[in-house]
């Protein structure tokens, strides 16, 4: 307890300011730490490396084979191999003839032409058909005949005036006669009128019936015509098919193409492709080239006497396009055989001395294939 008090007192002792100074220092450090570590700085995402393939010059050339300066046109144009007014997009090919079978097109127009007037005929009847459909609206005239009956009543109505007749009869017979005559005339007139009305009504009815019959007949005719037309077309199609089949079967020419035609022949070289293979030396070309080189080399060759080994030294060398040696020659198979090294070295010396070899122009296209060569010097040829 006393010790604790002692340590507490030591905190207040001016000669031992360690406690205060330490607490204050740590508080300051804490504040600085809070400021410094207030927020973590996020990493900037690392840039991803770009994968690179190392390719040889030959591989690159194979990739780029074709016209290197060929301009790529913005819009692809159909390829034309010969000039013609008509543009035909045939498959470009080497053969110069078209496929014989041309579609038989002459007959179908005729076949189509015939049914057309029929179709017109068939199309015409409908207009007369239409009005009967409208007739039900026009029917109100029919009720007209019905008013005939009231007219009959009217015809009877004139009879009541007969009743006043008795009155004039006693007065004057002339007047009655006149009246009777008048009545008779009126009656006759009314009867005539009624007869006329009846007749018109009957006529209307008859016309209607006639129209209905016409309609029915027209419909029947139409269906018949349609059926006939269909049958006819089917028959024609069958005939056409047979004709085409016949032509195709009888044609003995191999399918071929005259190539695409257009207003201008396209003069563009095809651009480089990715999967083309570069030209290589054929085995005979290779032996020719090596023969040329050894022939030129032999002019500078002087083999020390007796240095004819049995083994065949093989020398690697790299050539430039101008025939100069760009690296080597190096011996690929050194041996301990007596006379072997002098022989190989003599050959290599000869290669070096004759250095710019003359290489014919025709080998230039395959330079990538022969720019590094292995040449064997057969000692048996020397003997």
């Amino acid at each position: 307890m006393a010790r604790k008090l002692d340590t507490l007192r030591s905190l207040l002792d001016w000669r031992q300011p360690g406690g205060f100074v330490s607490v204050a220092g740590h508080a300051a450090m804490l504040i600085v730490g809070l400021a410094a570590f207030s927020s973590a700085k996020p990493f900037t995402p690392a840039q991803e490396g770009v994968a690179v393939d190392v390719i040889s010059e030959r591989e690159f050339n194979e990739m780029m084979k074709g016209e290197k300066k060929g301009e790529k046109r913005p819009e692809p144009q159909p390829r034309a191999e010969s000039v013609s007014e008509i543009r035909r997009n045939n498959e470009p090919g080497e053969a110069k003839r078209d496929v014989a079978a041309e579609p038989v097109k002459a007959e179908p127009p005729k076949a189509e032409a015939k049914p057309e007037p029929q179709r017109q005929v068939a199309a015409l009847p409908p207009p007369p058909v239409r009005p009967p459909e409208l007739k039900p609206v026009a029917r109100p005239p029919e009720p007209k005949p019905q008013p005939e009956e009231p007219e009959d009543e009217k015809a009877e109505l004139p009879t009541p005036p007969k009743r006043p007749d008795p009155k004039p009869e006693p007065k004057k017979e002339d007047l009655a006669k006149l009246l009777e005559q008048k009545q008779i005339e009126e009656k006759r007139r009314e009867e005539a009128k009624a007869a006329e009305d009846q007749r018109t009504a009957e006529e209307n009815r008859k016309a209607e019936e006639k129209k209905r019959a016409d309609e029915r007949a027209a419909a029947e005719r139409r269906t018949r015509e349609d059926r006939e037309k269909r049958e006819k077309e089917a028959a024609e199609a069958r005939r056409l098919e047979d004709a085409i089949r016949q032509r195709l079967l009888t044609s003995r020419e191999a399918p071929s193409s005259t190539g695409a035609t257009g207003a201008q022949v396209s003069r563009e070289a095809s651009l480089g492709t990715e999967n083309a293979t570069g030209r290589r030396l054929s085995p005979s070309e290779r032996s020719q080239l090596i023969g040329l080189l050894t022939e030129q080399m032999n002019r500078c060759l002087s083999i020390p006497p007796g240095a004819i080994p049995r083994s065949k030294p093989i020398v690697a060398l790299a050539l430039g396009r101008d025939g100069s040696i760009t690296s080597g020659p190096t011996l690929t198979n050194p041996m301990n055989e007596p006379g072997y090294m002098p022989y190989a070295e003599a050959n290599m010396r000869a290669l070096r001395n004759c250095a710019p070899f003359k290489i014919p122009e025709r080998f230039m296209a395959t330079y990538e294939d022969w720019k590094s060569l292995l040449i064997g010097f057969d000692p048996s040829e020397m003997q």
Partner: protein
């Protein structure tokens, strides 16, 4: 992703508040240890410096030809340390031998040597007090911090296993919290270790000086004793 980053607060307070209870205790303990060790360091360095200074001053006065009694009278009522404490202790013993009957010369030399040894031991003990605490903080602090870190990583992995998400954004905050404990421990332990070594060496040096002074002073006193004894014998003979 920026949203997730915005959510994670990585300030020191946040790191402390997110930590597990035990890790929090470890951090607090280590922070207290750091404060304590620095308090000891500051006090000790002040004490060491003042002691060295007073020892130099005393040495100057002691060898200035002043009489020992005058020197004693000037110092006796003050709190003394270092050489002065030795001097006072030896002189007190010396004067006590002459105050009484004047006898007791026979073993005065041994008594003075003993008193000097005791006061050296007391001075050294005073110098080295609390250095043990520094040594403990220096040696054990990193282990405590490591314990906090291991515990924090353990709880982090447990929560990862529970959430079944192993992306670094989930793992990182927990690890940062855990490592914070080790950081505090190292911050406390490194200065404690450095200053412990320094103070031990300084205390050794001061002890050496005290011992050599005690030998010298005891030699002076022994000469005085022999002279006094001679005079007393002469007086007795006369």
């Amino acid at each position: 992703m920026p949203g997730a980053e915005a959510q994670v607060d990585l300030s020191l307070v946040a790191l402390f508040m997110h930590a597990h209870f035990i890790v929090k205790l470890v951090m607090i303990g280590l922070a207290v240890a750091s404060v304590w060790s620095w308090a000891i360091i500051i006090n000790k360095s002040i004490a060491m410096r003042s002691m060295a200074k007073s020892m130099d001053e005393f040495e100057d006065r002691f060898w200035s030809g002043q009489s020992l009694d005058e020197l004693y009278r000037g110092l006796v009522n003050k709190t003394n340390d270092g050489f002065a404490a030795l001097f006072i202790a030896a002189m007190t013993e010396w004067r006590r031998a002459f105050e009484g009957s004047g006898r007791g010369f026979a073993s005065l030399q041994t008594r003075i040597d003993k008193v000097l040894d005791v006061s050296i031991a007391r001075e050294v003990e005073r110098l080295e007090s609390k250095l043990l605490a520094l040594a403990t903080i220096a040696s054990v602090g990193p282990y405590i911090g490591l314990f906090g870190t291991v515990f924090g990583i353990m709880t982090t992995f447990r929560s990862i296993a529970a959430s079944k998400n192993t992306s670094l954004a989930v793992v990182a905050p927990g690890i940062a919290e855990a490592l914070f404990a080790t950081a505090i421990a190292l911050a406390a332990a490194i200065p404690a270790n450095i200053f412990y070594n320094k103070f031990v060496r300084d205390a050794g040096k001061i002890q050496g000086r005290l011992e050599s002074f005690a030998d010298e002073f005891s030699a002076i006193l022994s000469r005085q004793i022999d002279e006094r004894a001679g005079t007393v014998q002469n007086r007795g003979a006369a």
